[in-house]
Subunit: 421 residues, 2 copies
């Protein structure tokens, strides 16, 4: 199959082809899925030259169109990154297969054996921007969880994605899996995305991964459920009983270790009785290049600190900028988090059992963290292995979504002739 042929396949045909593999994929033996993942990892390592060459063409085109250096770096797939990608595929291979897991079971009074058994969700439409490694990640996660997937990456990565798609298709065929289990959309026409989003008869779930405007568009247009990943406006609250060094370490790590990601902290809330540590903490943050946007009390005496606006407290800066507010109580901190937060990840640093317990029950975020960095709200760190995204929804799944979150269940009811009276 040539790239041109892929490019010309209409969306409905791609979706029907994906749909036609649903049963085969749902009933595949784990060993068969793992054999494919192993072959894909090997194929990636063997095809470094071809992938890099396709990627260089994407990079050249993107550079010509004026793409920023930061974005070019996201688009880049060089030899070390391809090696990591192959390793990531092998890690997914090593994860347990969620399909077929018996979640719960019991014998009813009338003798019926009732169990809930994990099954795949169905066809996934995955739409993402820039980073072409997502193509391979998403394909591996979806197939391992028994779901056919249609991959629609960014137009700037089309050559790389089609090359990766070729490897995926070839290895699927070689491993004896349905080749339409994974399909890379060959066209970059944005119109087509809308067509896919209408096919709720064929596609079970849409997963957008990218900026807010992409997610908003998908939510607006999708006729099927969407796994959403909105803002992370994450907080660290330093309680009055906090151990100073621990507070310092956690605030700095939450803000600085990788400021662009969703689980980085945006706001520091400081109990007024812990404010004595503020000058040292402020200095340590500024030394790492962090711009401080402060409430009136926390700004006093800190050279270079600016005044935080109402909007700052609601903003995922995604950069070395930290909002700071001194609060008079745990209750005020919780109220701030409820008002300005996004329900993503919020941490408390404390030595007080009661404060920890109250924070845990009153803060309703996908992850509530006690005495650790916000950066731990991550599929790998929480033991899910790889993740397909982080849900900011409350429905279906919350927080990091791995293989388990790409499944649903069915009831299996075994009887010996029971009827209802």
């Amino acid at each position: 199959m040539t790239h041109t042929a892929v490019a010309q396949t209409p969306p409905r045909t791609l979706a029907l082809q994906a749909r036609s593999t649903v049963t085969a994929l749902a009933t595949l033996a784990t060993a068969d899925k793992n054999r494919w993942l192993q072959m894909l990892a090997e194929a990636l390592r063997a095809a470094v030259d071809a992938v890099v060459s396709a990627n260089l063409q994407d990079l050249a085109a993107a550079r010509q169109s004026g793409m920023s250096e930061a974005m070019l770096d996201r688009l880049r797939l060089d030899e070390p990154r391809i090696q990591s990608l192959a390793t990531a595929v092998q890690q997914i291979c090593a994860l347990p297969d969620p399909v077929g897991e018996v979640i719960s079971g019991e014998r009813r009074p009338n003798g019926l054996q009732v169990s809930r058994v994990r099954v795949p969700l169905g066809v996934v439409f995955f739409i993402y921007e820039s980073r072409p490694n997502v193509t391979v990640d998403a394909a591996a996660l979806c197939v391992k969880s028994g779901n056919p997937v249609i991959l629609r990456g960014g137009s700037e990565a089309i050559r790389t994605n089609l090359e990766l798609g070729r490897l995926i298709t070839e290895t699927l065929a070689a491993a004896g899996l349905p080749e339409h289990a994974v399909q890379v959309v060959g066209s970059t026409d944005r119109q087509l995305v809308g067509e896919f989003l209408q096919m709720s008869d064929l596609i079970s779930l849409a997963i957008p991964r990218g900026g807010r405007s992409l997610i908003e568009r998908v939510v607006r247009e999708a006729a099927m459920p969407v796994l959403k990943h909105f803002d992370g406006v994450c907080h660290v609250f330093v309680d009055q009983s906090a151990e100073l060094q621990m507070a310092l370490d956690i605030v700095i790590n939450s803000k600085c270790q990788r400021p662009a990601v969703c689980n980085a902290a945006e706001t520091l809330l400081l109990h007024v009785n812990a404010a004595e540590l503020w000058p040292a903490l402020a200095a340590a943050l500024q030394q790492r290049g962090v711009e401080l946007r402060c409430c009136e009390r926390s700004r006093a005496g800190i050279a270079g600190a600016v005044v935080a606006t109402e909007q700052d407290y609601r903003t995922e800066h995604g950069a070395l900028i930290l909002n700071v507010r001194i609060v008079d109580s745990l209750a005020e901190a919780i109220e701030h988090i409820r008002t300005y937060g996004s329900g993503h990840t919020d941490a408390i640093v404390t030595r007080c059992l009661e404060a920890a317990g109250h924070f845990e029950s009153a803060v309703d975020s996908s992850a509530v963290v006690i005495n650790a960095s916000t950066r731990f709200n991550d599929g790998g760190e929480l033991g899910l292995g790889a993740e397909i995204g982080i849900s900011t929804d409350r429905f279906h799944a919350r927080g990091p979504c791995g293989l388990r979150e790409l499944t649903t269940y069915k009831y299996v009811i075994r009887g010996t002739g029971q009827v209802r009276g």
Copy 2:
């Protein structure tokens, strides 16, 4: 609060009031919720006269507007029904509280203690038709699972619903629970439903319960997730190895025990090698008033049987009508179910282990039943206690939805100062 005051509260105010109770409700002790349920059950029994009187007014108005006898019966709330309703509330009281359940937990290599803890979903908007007992059921289920609920019943039941709402509000206050935890919408203006469905900032989940057009409207207009309950086109497949008497019992029970409900069978698939039992089975069905719509082979020799159309096989008759098709193999039966079914409930009657196993894995319905009636796909029968609806979706929850399905979870991460390296 008078009914008039309720009627005049604008939707946004009702939603804000519901939202304001989210944290209090999420952190309520089980004993407090149960105390309220107990008080509500008692209040229902004590208020039989007032409820019946309100209901008689609804019935009179409905009769005048020409409502059918069947619909009038759905609307009726007499003394025995109120007693059952009180008993149902006590049964919900006896169910385990899902909130706070630790679903899973582990210690990570770096010492972090990670657990997933069940928490409520948030504000529920519940919209339903006719049967006013749903008002009490839904209130009990939502509060027990920690979710505030806004109840919007049918206009024909408005007097009954407001009277029940009054009992609910009074007992909430008496039990010391937030009185806005349950709110009955006083206005029957259909326009208002659309306003609620837009408030995804305040309402976490919409649950429509009623006919297909209601559900379709809610799906179309809702900006928040919807728990959908679409058609049940359920099948019984009688395999060649089926025990004759068991097949007879299961087919008759699946079709006739309560033909109007979603888990009643609509289509009988008969293996050609089991066709010898067909004349006796057909006679038994016809004796119970079942109209038979048959394929050519199954129609032969059955007096009164008519020809099934393509459309019949796709229809939830909800009445004493059964489609019948003789198939040549298990594979053909599975293919029929995949083509014409709605993924609700499908049963096989067989003595063959291989056939049962293949049917179980290849049929992807919310419940796959082996040697029992389709009628068992029901919250009560499957051990969930009461149910708020049956999901025909694959996302979040599938099949009967009880207290557990009205919850989500959050990650709780407990550390001793861990940061990411």
